[in-house]
């Protein structure tokens, strides 16, 4: 029971859960940790694609649960890091085909062999969500700085607090230009509403899209700004005290000016 089981969740779909899971998994593997990623999105699997491992899937999560194979037979080793594995979801089954108890047992089993078990949670708060959080003892919550993902995130925090406790927050796709023009919620707006610890901020970056299509997540790209943000987040997960920089350096100053002038 040595490893840490962390669920990556959001409530709303399309805010970057799967991309974040892939980047955190690779980032932790880069730091020589033994990592397994579970794709909890049964029926709508994507994590294998983002990781560029789709062609290697033989068995999947449901096969393991149904006893058709051993766990290690279903695990796919990453092509870059041998200490990183993926347990893919089934594309033909449904969320209801597995129970929270089965997920808890599976996660417990994986924690014995790995330092980190990352669970990619499906969107929504139904059975798929309950399955994904069942075995986790930590949660990372992804949101974008927009009104509706933040509201869904708030709902999810309420549910997480009943079991796992406070999640740590990653604000994804922060666009400094839009924040400056007050077209987007800023960091403090989001934190004021959600009131949970901030794990990191990932700037909007078109390289994330390119990376997603090419199966080479940004955390491996030394020049990418979002890749740098993910590497810092990985350091924080490992317990290091890495400051969260203000995006674009002067955004904080502009915000403060705005506060002065508009009294907000």
């Amino acid at each position: 029971m040595g490893g840490r089981a962390i669920v990556v969740t959001s409530g709303k779909g399309g805010v970057g859960k799967t991309t974040a899971t892939a980047n955190l998994g690779l980032g932790l593997a880069r730091e020589d940790r033994k990592v397994v990623m579970i794709d909890g999105d049964i029926g709508l699997r994507n994590l294998d694609l983002i990781m560029g491992l789709e062609n290697r899937i033989v068995y999947h999560l449901l096969d393991v649960v149904r006893g058709r194979c051993q766990v290690r037979q279903a695990l796919i080793k990453d092509k870059r890091f041998p200490n990183l594995s993926l347990l893919p979801a089934s594309q033909v089954d449904q969320k209801e085909d597995i129970s929270p108890e089965q997920m808890r047992d599976l996660t417990a089993q994986l924690k014995e062999d790995f330092d980190f078990v990352l669970i990619d949670c499906p969107a929504g708060i139904e059975q798929g969500f309950r399955n994904a959080i069942a075995g986790a003892n930590e949660a990372i919550l992804i949101t974008t700085p927009e009104v509706s993902p933040v509201r869904d995130a708030d709902r999810v925090i309420g549910l997480l607090q009943q079991s796992i406790g406070d999640p740590r927050l990653i604000i994804n796709r922060m666009n400094p230009e839009m924040v400056k023009k007050e077209q987007m919620l800023n960091q403090s707006d989001v934190l004021e509403i959600l009131a949970v610890p901030l794990l990191g901020i990932v700037p909007e970056d078109e390289e994330v899209v390119i990376a997603g299509n090419s199966g080479a997540p940004v955390v491996l790209n030394e020049r990418s700004r979002s890749g740098q943000a993910y590497r810092r987040i990985v350091q924080r997960i490992l317990g290091e005290d890495v400051p969260i920089p203000e995006l674009n350096g002067n955004v904080g100053f502009i915000q403060r000016l705005g506060k002065l002038f508009f009294g907000r």
């Binding site: 708060i125 509201r151 708030d154 709902r155 509403i193 009131a195």
Partner: protein, 245 residues
């Protein structure tokens, strides 16, 4: 001069039966009536004498101050305030008709009301509402989206009530935090219920049978002071919370 329904009176008469200072026990609580024509110096002396005679009877009592038509000077108010606070009185609000006095008192931090009669009516209804609500729900946390709190009595929330959260209360709702979610106080038809929050910014608010919604262009309304919402003239009114209902 002063026309107020009197119950138990204690007055001192000085010089020809003019009551310089009267204490009345009204439903609003003890009310101090100051003669509004006599020289303030004489009134002040009468207050001093009367309070000395009361021997600390009013210590820690919340009192209402009635100034009538008097044009109150700042120095006069300071002397009176010093005297009253020195006796350990708690000042609830003042009733004054002169705009000058009203502004002075308001600036001095004392809530001002138009008339005593209205406040008597207001106070009459409040205890009835309080009696009906027997239990209070105290939440030592906030409410997040999707969470709901239902209580026949009053609800106190120590934390934020976020959008998508709901509170249904038979009585008052007090939010020690930011209120963004939906609150229905005084459910189903108690118009005397109030909603108090450190930051009162809900998109919709219901009190008894009334529904108010935020202006469409006021989506991001933010206030940095406590506010109270209550029903006045069949409308839900929001005003700064002065530390008293």
């Amino acid at each position: 001069m002063i026309s107020v329904p009197s119950t138990r009176d204690r007055a001192i008469a000085v010089g020809g039966g003019v009551e310089l200072f009267t204490i009345k026990g009204l439903k609003a609580g003890p009310t101090f009536l100051f003669h509004d024509q006599a020289p303030f110096h004489d009134v002040l002396q009468a207050v001093t004498d009367e309070l000395a005679r009361a021997q600390g009877f009013f210590r820690d009592s919340p009192v209402v101050l009635f100034f009538g038509d008097r044009l109150l000077q700042k120095e006069e108010w300071w002397k009176l305030k010093e005297l009253l606070l020195g006796e350990g009185l708690l000042l609830r609000y003042a009733v004054a008709t002169s705009p000058v006095s009203r502004e002075l008192l308001y600036k001095e931090g004392l809530p001002v009301r138009d008339s005593l009669v209205a406040s008597v009516v207001e106070q009459k209804t409040a205890p009835a509402a309080a009696q009906k609500n027997t239990d209070t729900s105290y939440l030592r946390r906030g409410l997040r989206g999707g969470q709901k709190e239902i209580c026949e009595g009053d609800v106190i929330v120590m934390g934020d009530v976020n959008q998508g959260a709901e509170i249904l209360a038979g009585g008052d709702v007090v939010v020690v935090g930011t209120l963004r979610g939906m609150v229905h106080a005084g459910y189903p038809d108690n118009k005397d219920a109030v909603v108090v929050a450190l930051n009162l910014t809900p998109l919709q608010l219901r009190i008894g049978p009334m529904i108010a919604r935020a202006d469409d262009d006021q989506n991001n309304r933010r206030v940095s002071r406590p506010e109270i919402a209550r029903v006045k003239d069949d409308h839900i009114m929001i005003e700064p919370y002065q530390g008293k209902l």
